[in-house]
Symmetry: C2
Subunit: 145 residues, 2 copies
DNA sequence: ACTAATTCCTATTAATTCTATAGAAATTAT
DNA sequence: ATAATTTCTATAGAATTAATAGGAATTAGT
């Protein structure tokens, strides 16, 4: 399951993608529009900034904006940054592989191979879907079919 | 991520599938061989029994066995029983759909449609992989490719 | 009938993670 | 200066997960 944090992050990024014309949008506005707890959103946006997905402007009139165009930010990237690996088990992650304790042969563990297969299918979708797909519902819907 | 409980369940079921010739296998043996905390495993096996995946024999010489053949038990079924829906969000589940609070139109939410797509890809794999595939590593490996 | 071995049941504790908030420092536009 | 904002770090609160406890019920063998 996705955490609330990740869901909030996707909502906020979607909002920012939709307001990419403005050069920055404040936390307060995003929190209010998307109904996300204000202080919680603060920490989330800060994390997205520290991870290079957002840029910020401090002080009066400050706020956040996407660092790159919406088509350059994949949903997979966002979820990994907030919730960690996409894989169902650490031993099935390609970005953060970690073998199970006491697992002698990860290479021949059938459960692991299955989990890798699921991870690959998930990553294939999430790494090829971008914020652009999300905000442009028409192309998104076409893409989905 | 899969819970430890689900991982233990898969280990135990794999073990039972490999010992399907015996008419029952005790908790103690499974716990020892698979290095699963004994008391925790008790509750897991009981749950799998209550969900119709295992049968048990009580009293001296008792134990557990698969209710059906290994090829009739899918990994998706096991994970759902222990961890709940495969989907990353409740609104993307087909077996336990639940809309997000305040979501006006789940039908046109692009994030939801994306999550449904991921769910379907995951379920396609997990519902078509059985304990038989897992224990027969050769056919499993072929299947994986 | 007795004993030992086992599953069954329910409650509880312990540990971990997730969610949210607090409060003040640093920064910036006006 | 002032007001509005992000930044930072800590921590509290809530929920979930992981594990254990202890005894009841059942069964095989003697």
């Amino acid at each position: 399951m996705l955490s609330k944090k990740a869901k909030y992050a996707l909502q906020a990024l979607t909002f920012l993608a939709q307001h990419a014309d403005q050069d920055s949008t404040g936390i307060a506005e995003i929190a209010e529009q998307e109904k996300i707890p204000r202080k919680f959103l603060e920490t989330i946006l800060l994390e997205l900034k520290n991870q290079g997905i957002l840029i910020s402007k401090r002080g009066k009139g400050g706020g956040y904006a996407l660092r790159q165009d919406a088509e350059a930010i994949s949903i997979g990237q966002v979820i990994r940054v907030i919730d960690g690996p996409l894989a169902l088990t650490p031993c099935a992650s390609r970005t953060a592989f970690k073998p199970c304790q006491e697992c002698k042969k990860p290479d021949s563990c059938s459960i692991r191979l299955l989990m890798v297969k699921v991870r690959d299918a998930t990553a294939e979708i999430l790494d090829h879907t971008t914020l652009r797909h999300i905000i442009d519902s028409q192309s998104a819907l076409l893409y989905m079919i």
